[in-house]
Amino acid sequence: MELNTLTAHNLADLLKKGDISPIDICNNIIDKIEKTENKLCALAHFDKEKALERCGNLDKAAEKNLLWGIPFFIKDNICVKDELTTCSSRILKNFKPPYNATVIGKLTDLGAVLMGKTNMDEFAFGSSTETSCYGPTRNPWDTERIPGGSSGGSAAAVAGDEAIFALGSDTGGSIRQPASLCGVVGLKPTYGRVSRYGLIAFASSLDQIGPITKDVEDAAILLKAISGHDEMDSTSADVLVPDYLSGMKKSVKGLKIGVPKEYFIEGMDKEVKDSLKIAIDKLEKLGAVCEDMSLPHTEYAVSVYYLVATAEASSNLARFDGVQYGLRADNVKSMMDMYKKTRKEGFGDEAKRRIILGTFALSSGYYDAYYAKALKVRTLIKTDFDEAFQKFDAIVTPTSPTAAFKIGEKTRDPLTMYLSDIFTISANLAGIPGISIPCGFTKNNLPIGLQILGKPFDEEMILRIAYNYEQNTDWHKRKPKL
């Protein structure tokens, strides 16, 4: 059996019965990686000997946990003690953190087996995983196309069955958009739900860690495993983590779901629009009440996001200066020369562009017109959602206006690339949870994603709608031919 193609909960059943061992799963994963990784470039760092060793050293005492013996990958911006963590950037090329991210400890304590790191856009700056210093990751459904980004390596690895599940990070859609484009499930939790201790910061008011999985049940298992307050991250919220597995199985009968008209725009793919209509019909057949509504400030979200996110990034990335870790340029004349040359050599184009844009938005003379204004408009975007959730239990939209685009198609024009995040960005600005699940395919056999947005800390509701939809459709069972 090809164990690498199964979900974590399927594997947990087989492990429990004693039909397979963790080493069997690990070996299947390794075989698959050896077969397809040269086509996908989904991984940033992978050491099979180490993976096998970890598998052999599993603590039997943790065996009762659902994730015991299940291998997983994480995005290369999440710290693992004494192992390369580079954000797919030259400036961190040799960086080995002296500590583990909180999510790593949570998963390994449950007996999940860390396999390695996945490729990403440099510092998560991108929507296509083309800005990585390791080269672009490719979409398993069509290797001439991008997998989405910035967690494109995580999504491609899961979709291509090189991974059972993976963790990503989502600042403006970086979990949901690649999940959509690769035909898998991606969940961005509420801001504050998951500890970010050990996540290398991009935009601190927006970043969240979340799972990319093969089905909704795995997403529920993973969310439960990584959620919760952590004293090491003062922005992690002390809010009860419910039992998502039982909550998601409740029916959707009578639930009120909003369909915002601003998410069905001119210029979006007709096939995406049509798939969404069919998905909404399906939800109605299952008993939900779907109703057209409006989130009036949606059109300002991309502008607000690219000012707020780059401003925060310019500040967060000031730490990469050649002093404490990472690259330092050779032959420098002075301290200032060292800073400038190190950052010139270490950062790729998109990182430089975003740092300069963010610095500009924060700089004297421009602060009020750009950064301060963006924070005020952010209030309007958040208020749109606050008001909508007084009436609706959830909101459904397309995850992305198009299916996966071609490699190189949008790299020359950053603004066009930024606009591909148009449907995912608002959730980060408002801090609300969102999930993307497969809801169809284009005639070229490219996946289309359905996004479900919920109230703050109500992941249970979006998992419930996602689970009910998934149980009544077959999209998630399709596999790419690699």
Partner: protein, 98 residues
Amino acid sequence: MAINKDTVKYTANLARIELSDEELDQFTGQLDRILAYVDKLDTLKADDLKPTSHVLKMKNVYREDVVKSSLSASDAIKNAPLAENNLFKVPKIIDIEA
């Protein structure tokens, strides 16, 4: 134009990034297009709105001030490009003529 070459050059210097002439040309054009796009925010009246810098209702988070173990100096310095005696080593900062 929302931004010109001189401003990009000035801003890159604030961000401590050296740019080649080619990058300066390319970034100026791209940033100008991005800023022209975000100018749509000016069509909104936002003066009286409260800014949202983050979405959580929390303000300051306090904890007891207790002594705990932390990284050792040698661990903290392990990734330094250049170090000496458990200290980060950098180029000379202050140049004093003898």
